[in-house]
């Protein structure tokens, strides 16, 4: 029996027979209880990614990510979740990093979408097939901005916000969490969408630096990360480096996730691969082209590709070796620093992966 009253038109359109599956994402009481009960003491929370996933990700959890557009997204942590074979997960996020990989291996059964695909690299054919073959149930459709408001509402400490986004679109008709209400202060008709605060179970956030307690520093676009860190019941930080607390205090003010939100701190250089990491490494662009143009063509291709790069790999260092090792690191760092204006401009030409041409290079 569901705890909340949902938008019935959306429930019907989505063919949801039991709406209790929707509850936890907006269940403030249980989120507050989780926040109240978690370790508040300033303690050393360092552990391996294997321990963090085993301890803090349960079957059935709603997981979310940080970053955006394959920038600073927590791919390597997600790869570990996949290798540990968690089940019945829900995924939410903008970008919802590679949810189709999870679905392919049968880990994720439910999705909350605001975008799937890789921009100009193409639509996500894996997700397309999963949908057609009933391997995934969509629980809600969003816009990026609408979902961002849901996370932000949680960070603000409110039950939700009134939005002018998504009004009158089919998104509202495919999102049980959204209701159109009248702005109470307006004399004339003034519809607004009530966007509830969103509370995922587990946030994975890849940061530039963290101290051992969990104070975590982000350089570049923060996207939704400060909000999802505040909202989630459990927060796992992976960081390019672990720094002394004083380095955060003296040198890294700005976009900081406070330590008491954080459950686990994992030292994980190259944790954003195969995404890019501001200040650290650019995308291995051919990896994405091969993924979108070749791997997603058939399930056989997908299995070969994902087994090779995720399931049969021990950790991110093996991933780096496959990309080209130290030479790859140097080139990727040169590229991202040049793109950010911190190196002399360079030629960004590269040998694109196409179905007819695979240079084997990833820079």
């Amino acid at each position: 029996m569901a705890k909340f009253v949902y938008n019935q038109e959306a429930v019907d359109n989505l063919h949801l027979s039991d709406t209790s599956i929707l509850d936890r994402l907006i269940d403030f009481e249980s989120a507050r209880e989780a926040h109240s009960k978690k370790e508040h003491a300033k303690k050393d929370k360092r552990m391996t990614i294997g321990e963090a996933v085993a301890t803090f990700v349960q079957d059935g959890d709603i997981i979310t990510d940080g970053g955006f557009s394959y920038v600073r997204t927590p791919h390597q942590a997600f790869h570990e979740v996949m290798r540990q074979g968690k089940k019945n997960l829900q995924m939410i996020g903008s970008p919802n990093t590679n949810q189709s990989f999870f679905i392919f291996y049968g880990l994720v059964d439910y999705s909350h979408n605001s975008y799937s695909g890789a921009e100009m690299r193409g639509i996500d054919r894996l997700y397309d097939r999963a949908l057609k073959h009933d391997k995934i149930t969509v629980l809600s459709e969003w816009s990026h901005g609408g979902m961002a408001q849901g996370f932000k509402a949680a960070q603000l400490g409110t039950p939700g916000v009134a939005s002018k986004q998504m009004l009158a679109s089919d998104i509202v008709r495919y999102n049980p969490y959204l209701n159109v209400i009248q702005n109470p202060l307006k004399k004339d008709k003034d519809p607004v969408v009530f966007v509830p605060a969103l509370y995922p179970d587990v946030s994975f956030i890849h940061c530039h630096a963290a101290d051992k307690y969990g104070n975590a520093y982000i350089y570049g676009p923060a996207v939704n990360d400060l909000a999802v860190a505040a909202a989630a019941r459990k927060v796992i930080i992976t960081a390019e480096e672990i720094v002394p607390e004083n380095d955060i205090r003296y040198n890294k003010q700005g976009q900081i996730i406070p330590f008491f939100y954080v459950d686990a701190v994992v030292e994980m250089p190259f944790g954003a691969l195969p995404g890019s990491m501001p200040g650290c490494y650019y995308w291995p662009r051919q990896w994405w082209e091969k993924c979108m143009r070749w791997a997603t063509l058939t399930d056989e291709n997908a299995k070969a590709f994902l087994d090779e790069w995720i399931m049969n790999i021990k950790d991110q260092f093996e991933f780096v070796e496959k990309l080209g090792g130290a030479k790859w690191i140097a080139e990727a760092r040169r590229q991202t620093k040049a793109a950010e204006g911190d190196n002399e401009d360079i030629d960004f030409s590269y040998e694109e992966f196409t179905l007819k041409h695979d240079s084997g290079l990833y820079y």
């Binding site: 359109n13 955006f68 557009s69 394959y70 920038v71 605001s114 975008y115 799937s116 695909g117 921009e119 100009m120 639509i123 996500d124 997700y127 397309d128 949908l131 057609k132 009933d134 969509v138 459709e141 969003w142 816009s143 990026h144 901005g145 609408g146 961002a148 408001q149 996370f151 932000k152 002018k164 986004q165 998504m166 009004l167 009158a168 679109s169 089919d170 998104i171 495919y174 159109v180 008709k189 003034d190 519809p191 570049g220 676009p221 923060a222 996207v223 939704n224 400060l226 909000a227 890019s276 501001p278 650019y282 995308w283 991202t336 793109a339 950010e340 204006g341 401009d345 960004f348 030409s349």
Partner: protein, 263 residues
Amino acid sequence: MRDLNAPANPLETLAYIIAQQIHDHSVVYIGTGLPMVAGILAKKTHAPNITIVYESGGQDPIEGDMPWSVGCPFTWRKSPTIMEMAYSFAQCYNGYVDIGFLGFAQVDRYGNVNTHMIGKDFHHPKVRLTGSGGNNDLSSLMGNMVLVGLQTPDKFPEKVDFVTSVGHLNGGNSRREAGLIGNGPSAVISPWGVYDFHPVSKRMQVKSLTPGVTFEIAQSLTGFELLKPEGEIPQTKLITDEALKIIRTQVDPRGVFTTMPSA
């Protein structure tokens, strides 16, 4: 290196036409792909003082290469500030953004956009597309939204398969009555024509056509009835040799977004 003497291809033509919509000193919200080319072209030609903002949160980046993605450092290169996502869209709501550009898979006569799926069954579509991303947010909040894409009867259908983003909804005052902000889409640009919306009915009408394209040809490429303006239909100003050279040598020298997929 690109062939500087080849005639302009449809994507370059499109980028030029889009760029002409941008006035100097304005704040411009840019989505991924061709709008990036158009924005940077405008900045390098007739509108050097525009401020470009991106969905990544990047604001007013200093000049660099063509972004590989909307999250690419070139969209936030030395930005004085980078907005969180919720705040980035809020700039549109609060009235700071002068013009925005969005792509579409389908657009109907009222400028309603679909980027969700092709097909009638949400659960088993013919093709599942990306979904909204920021498309709905900009459409919901902008006063001056320009829609950009290719034109075929399937892409300009009677009814879109999923209303990802509301344009003029059912025409007339229906957008405003539904509570949306701003005046909605102002133009639709395809390689064959520039279209705007009738001031009262909000139905799509021809504004100008690419040289060689007649109203009949434009209509045959459209799945709904286009409104024909009074009198002679103006021709869209074609890309100049100078602008074409700037695209190929400075804006998109590697042809990331302005070479045809078959090339």
